[in-house]
């Protein structure tokens, strides 16, 4: 058995070297389709991160009437904080709102405003709650909670800072990326299958004397077929290695841009590919191996007469 496997591998590599340039072309095409798949994965990850970053910025601010007593506000805060929809609530008292505002203006060097602020006898700013939901879809439910009549007399204004236009645009973009990606990947996949089919056909043709002799002397079908199938599998393996060798330097170049692009949201594209290395490349290899085995089997069935 062991000697059989060694021989099949030997024959497969002989096939590989004998049509060296054809092998190179075949591998290039498969590599190209891998690259297209990975470009799609890259783009998808980028759009996902952008959406996530935007979603992070969605929140509800609740401004309270200046007359609202602080204990009622804190009571409401506790109710909200207990809601299953809410990730966190931040209470900004009148005093801290004032200080923040002042500090901000001071930093900007806006002397007129800071000076005029000092003229006020009473703090003119609202106390407020800043609410973040666990998921973007929970905001309507939280709004409903706040709109209950019992809070009418303390709440001045509820403001959902929803960014829904940006998000829906990103969603459309994501769908578009998916569609275009699918079409392009299918296109490259189909070309890869065709070229593998053709390569195996040519291998059969260039080895027809040898295959004829194998049959003549009673060679096992295994020895005739397995090297051809293995040859197609070798193409996938070489192509995936090439793809990885091409992609990583590219990711290294792009990585600073992607990590700066989303402020606050650190996105490390290199880490993304590294963390999902086996999923990303493993599935691509698996898919390619299955496709190549199928197309070489097809070519064998069609061109290898017993």
């Amino acid at each position: 058995m062991f000697v059989n496997i060694i021989r099949v591998i030997k024959f497969a590599f002989q096939n590989f070297w004998r049509n060296f340039w054809l092998s190179i072309v075949t591998i290039s095409i498969i590599t190209l389709s891998f690259l297209s798949v990975n470009f799609f994965i890259f783009t998808n990850a980028l759009v996902d991160t952008a959406m996530h970053a935007i979603e992070q910025r969605v929140n509800i601010t609740v401004n309270f009437k200046t007359s609202a007593p602080e204990p009622s506000i804190l009571a409401l805060r506790d109710v909200v904080a207990k809601s299953e929809y809410v990730d966190n609530v931040e209470y900004i008292s009148k005093q801290s709102a004032f200080e923040r505002f002042r500090a901000k203006k001071e930093k900007e060097g806006n002397v007129i405003i800071t000076e005029s602020l000092d003229q006020f006898e009473e703090n003119p700013l609202f106390a407020s709650l800043l609410i973040k939901a666990k998921d973007i879809h929970y905001y309507p439910a939280i709004t409903q909670l706040l709109n209950q009549s019992q809070y009418e007399n303390i709440i001045e204004k509820t403001n959902l800072n929803d960014k829904s236009i940006v998000i829906s645009k990103l969603n459309t973009l994501k769908e578009r990326v998916k569609q275009v990606g699918l079409v392009i990947n299918l296109f490259f996949g189909a070309i890869a299958v065709l070229i593998v089919y053709n390569t195996i056909r040519i291998t059969i043709y260039t080895r027809k004397d040898e295959i004829g002799i194998m049959k003549l002397v009673g060679g096992s079908n295994w020895y005739i077929r397995a090297p051809l199938v293995l040859e197609s599998v070798i193409y996938s393996f070489v192509a995936i290695v090439l793809t990885i060798v091409i992609i990583y330097p590219l990711l290294g170049v792009l990585q600073p841009y992607t990590s700066n692009y989303f402020d606050g949201q650190a996105f490390d594209i290199l880490a993304y590919f590294s963390n999902n290395f086996f999923t990303i490349f493993g599935y691509q290899l698996l898919a390619s191996v299955v496709l190549n085995m199928a197309s070489s089997a097809l070519a064998i069935g069609r061109y290898l007469k017993v």
């Binding site: 000697v3 059989n4 004397d209 003549l216 009673g218 096992s220 020895y223």
Partner: protein, 226 residues
């Protein structure tokens, strides 16, 4: 050993090559199959190795009815039948040794068996000194000897030689015939397809004459009569 029962072969769509052939060959026999080009001799030989299947009739080898042999059993059949041809069918990029070894390799033989069997068969054909040469470095007769060595690696019970001397001069042809005779004397049934009158007349073996796909003569100690 070999039995053709009422065998007819029609190549599709409608090219009859053999018509209702009956042949019985015993183990260890030496049989000439003679006839003009296109008579159907090669077709006859191909049906023994299941390269072609009879349109009608039955073919039995030993007690194995190979008429409707399953595809996966064909390699087993071919390991029991050695075949040589006019054009040798050697691989030009392999040495003498590798050409012979190849036949064992592709049947899954272990290396140890290859190392013992190949020198043995090369010795039988008298080429043990030239096992590192490539086919192009050999004469026609020597190339045919390599092919014979390859045909012998599985110790076949039957050897089919389809015009093995067609490309060789008379003296070389004679030496090949001598070699085949020797192999036959060791017990291998030999089917010798030829249209070389001198060889047939010299050996005085059984001669089956084929004409237009039919057997017109089958004589022990026969002569080339066409």
């Amino acid at each position: 050993m070999i039995r053709f029962e009422n065998v007819t072969k029609i190549y599709p769509p409608n090219a009859p090559a053999l018509k209702e052939i009956d042949i019985n060959i015993s183990q260890g026999e030496f049989v000439f199959i003679v006839g003009q080009s296109g008579a159907g001799k090669t077709t006859l030989a191909k049906m023994l190795t299941a390269e072609e299947r009879p349109t009608k009739g039955r073919i039995i080898i030993g007690d194995w009815d190979i008429t409707k042999i399953h595809r996966r059993d064909i390699p087993l059949l071919r390991r029991q039948i050695g075949v040589i041809f006019q054009d040798f069918k050697l691989l030009p990029k392999k040495t003498v040794f590798e050409n012979v070894a190849f036949a064992l390799e592709v049947c899954g033989a272990p290396m140890s068996r290859i190392k013992t069997v190949v020198p043995q068969v090369l010795k039988i054909v008298g080429l043990e000194e030239k096992n590192h040469r490539y086919p192009r470095q050999l004469s026609g007769g020597e190339q045919q000897r390599v092919a014979i060595a390859r045909a012998l690696v599985h110790r076949p019970k039957i050897l089919i030689a389809d015009e093995p001397t067609g490309d060789l001069d008379a003296i070389t042809a004679k030496s090949i015939v001598d070699l085949l005779t020797k192999i036959n004397e060791f017990g291998t049934t030999l089917l010798f397809v030829t249209h070389n009158r001198d060889i047939v007349n010299m050996l005085k073996k059984r001669v089956i004459t084929v004409e237009g796909g039919a057997i017109v003569a089958d004589k022990e100690g026969g002569k080339y009569i066409l």
